[in-house]
Amino acid sequence: MAKQYVMSVMAVNRVGILAALATALDELRGSFVDVSQAVMRQYFTMIIAAEFPDDRDPAVIVEHIQAVCRPFGGVVTLKDPEEDAALGLKPLISLEVEDSIPYLLRITGKDRPGVLRRVAHRLAQDGIDVVDLYGIRHDDDNTFVTCLQLAVPGGVNVVSLQKDLAQMLGAEELSVGLFHDHVLQAISQPEPQPVLRSRIA
């Protein structure tokens, strides 16, 4: 039997960090299930869902990876999804939920404090999950761009959501675009769009 953990590793970005991490996982007889890596400024960051033998102590996993990553100044955190679930910390929603629809929310304009906070609060009102988020501030003209990938539960009134966001941010001259995932697929993939047979009235 194997047990899954979710870990984050953050270290100074230097050649060899990924090799060291993969070696540590091999030594612990662990394997990657899902992985996402990014370099933020000078730091290498990785979020890993990994499987380990059932009897592997989580403290040993953290200790071993930490030791391997020490030359890179690595910091490791580990979470046990089963343990969190037992504490009642269940995720609200995810893209696996059948009736959730992926959307892209893009906000641009002058950088102002509190924009993300207010947007996140409005999204939370409808139980909308932020699945992915990118953002950058341009210091030369004090503007920012942020893109959020959303999982919108079925039944959410997207029209009202759009109006609310436009009203909330439009007054501050921020531009808001909310795009259905089908639109992004249609413009980025050469394959023909699936054609459903219409019900002829």
Binding site: D132, H180, S188, S198
Partner: protein, 451 residues
């Protein structure tokens, strides 16, 4: 597992082009409503439009909001109005037109089309009656668009109809003199009307469709400009093949979005999905004009040498993009050059770089005829007919569709400014060369087609 779309999510690597749909047109079949009783016919028409168009308008709003893609214009096209009007007199035809206009206003659609007369081969008594009713129809309605197909590559040009239309256009302008002759802006003379749709201005929805069909038109001006500006910011010396590729990619995206939205509306409405019109047209958005697009490409003024070459490059790119984007793209793509709707073309006429003669030539490189051209109010009907005949002749020879919409502006001379407001905007009245002789058109009959 969550899917990652880094190319769209990463603000550093990509920005989304401005995506929107130019028009969505609902075609309604009303052939079964033919009735000798005018009241029953009009009541049936009114109810049919309300019943079909109300959910259509609602769906346009819902789908547009759900997908985050604006729809600039919603239109309805009822067919076959000419057959429904057969056997009725001119007053009855006006009543039918008012019924269409009233229904269109009730359901809040921007235009209602289908008031089409086809006379490319010959003119029946009913067709003549409909044409003769146009000045009154267009003066007493706001949303009705009318069209007369007077030529085709196989049929040739019906000169009798063209001669009549010169007088009808002048009368229509006079009938709406209090509104600068706006009635004439709603009357198109056509050649080589695509039989399967999408509808050219004021024409039919296409033949061989069922009771309900949804056609869409892409809005590519914004995405193309956005893409070109991004490319030129990175590489100011970008070559023409590179820019042509960029135009093609942007037009592909615009056509794909139009198809997606059109199919969704058709699916929810229980209608057939028709055609995606991949023609390039200006929009009401600032900077979305053909003149400004050419300026981005490096043509200093629209109408100056190099304009036709640049248009040919755009025409080639949008045609290929449309064909690849959708199996249901329309057979013909055009570059629409409506002077009244295109602020860039107005500036070019004001600066003197664009003339009527040059616009005529541009139909050879994808331009769609002489569209929404303001001409002096005292232009005689014979000259109007001659201009129409010339443009139809080009379409007959090139086997391409064409639209001629000439607007004599009462009381205005060449160089005067005219303001229509709403979606038509301002324009400068163009100089028109006077027809030297009326003998040719007066001979009447039909100029044979080109096989």
């Amino acid at each position: 597992m969550p899917r990652r779309r880094v190319s769209f999510l990463d603000p550093n690597t990509a920005t989304l082009p401005p995506l929107e749909v130019r028009t969505v047109t609902l075609g309604i079949n009303a052939a079964d409503l033919a009735d000798r009783s005018l009241n029953r016919l009009c009541e049936g028409l009114y109810q049919r439009i309300l019943q079909r168009a109300q959910p259509f308008v609602q769906l346009c709003e819902t789908v547009s909001a759900e997908y985050g893609v604006p729809i600039l214009q919603r239109r309805v096209c009822v067919s076959p109005v000419d057959r429904l009007a057969e056997g009725h007199n001119t007053d009855d035809v006006l009543h039918i037109a008012k019924t269409l206009d009233g229904a269109a206003g009730h359901v809040r659609i921007d235009q209602i089309a289908g008031f089409l007369v086809r006379v490319q081969n010959g003119m029946s008594r009913g067709a003549r009656l409909m044409i003769e009713s146009l000045p009154s129809v267009l003066a007493h309605t706001d949303r009705v668009q009318a069209a007369v197909e007077a030529a085709g590559s196989s049929s040739g040009i019906n000169i009798d109809a063209v001669e009549l239309l010169g007088r009808i256009i002048q009368s229509t302008a006079q009938a709406t003199a209090d509104r600068d002759g706006i009635g004439a802006a709603k009357l198109s003379v056509l050649a080589n009307l695509p039989t399967e749709g999408p509808p050219l201005s004021g024409a039919l929805v296409g033949e061989g469709w069922g009771d309900l069909v949804v056609h869409v038109s892409m809005s590519a001006m914004g995405p193309i400009r956005h893409t070109l500006e991004q490319r030129l910011a990175q590489d100011p010396q970008a070559s023409l093949p590179t820019l042509a590729g960029d135009i093609k990619a942007a037009a592909f995206q615009a056509a794909r979005v139009a198809e997606l939205i059109g199919r969704e509306i058709a699916q929810r409405l229980g209608a057939e999905f028709g055609r995606v019109d991949v023609s390039l047209a200006p929009t009401i958005r600032p900077g979305q004009t053909i003149a400004e697009l050419l300026h981005v490409l490096g043509v200093s003024a629209f109408g100056s040498p190099g304009t036709a070459a640049a248009l040919a490059m755009i025409y080639s790119a949008i045609r290929s993009a449309g064909g690849f984007a959708s199996t249901d793209s329309a057979a013909e793509a055009n570059v629409l050059l409506p002077v009244l709707r295109d602020a860039g073309l107005v500036s070019a006429t004001e600066a003197g770089s664009l003339s009527l003669e040059y616009l005529e030539q541009l139909s050879a490189v994808g331009g769609l005829g002489l569209d929404l051209i303001p001409v002096p109010g005292d232009t005689d009907p014979q000259t109007l007919s001659s201009l129409i005949a010339d443009q139809l002749a080009m379409a007959v020879v090139t086997h391409r569709p064409t639209v001629v919409r000439l607007i004599p502006i009462p009381g205005k001379q060449a160089g005067d400014r005219v303001t229509f407001g709403r979606d038509l905007g301002d324009a400068i009245v163009l100089r028109v060369p006077k027809a030297a002789s009326s003998t040719f058109l007066n001979r009447g009959g039909r100029i044979p087609g080109v096989r």
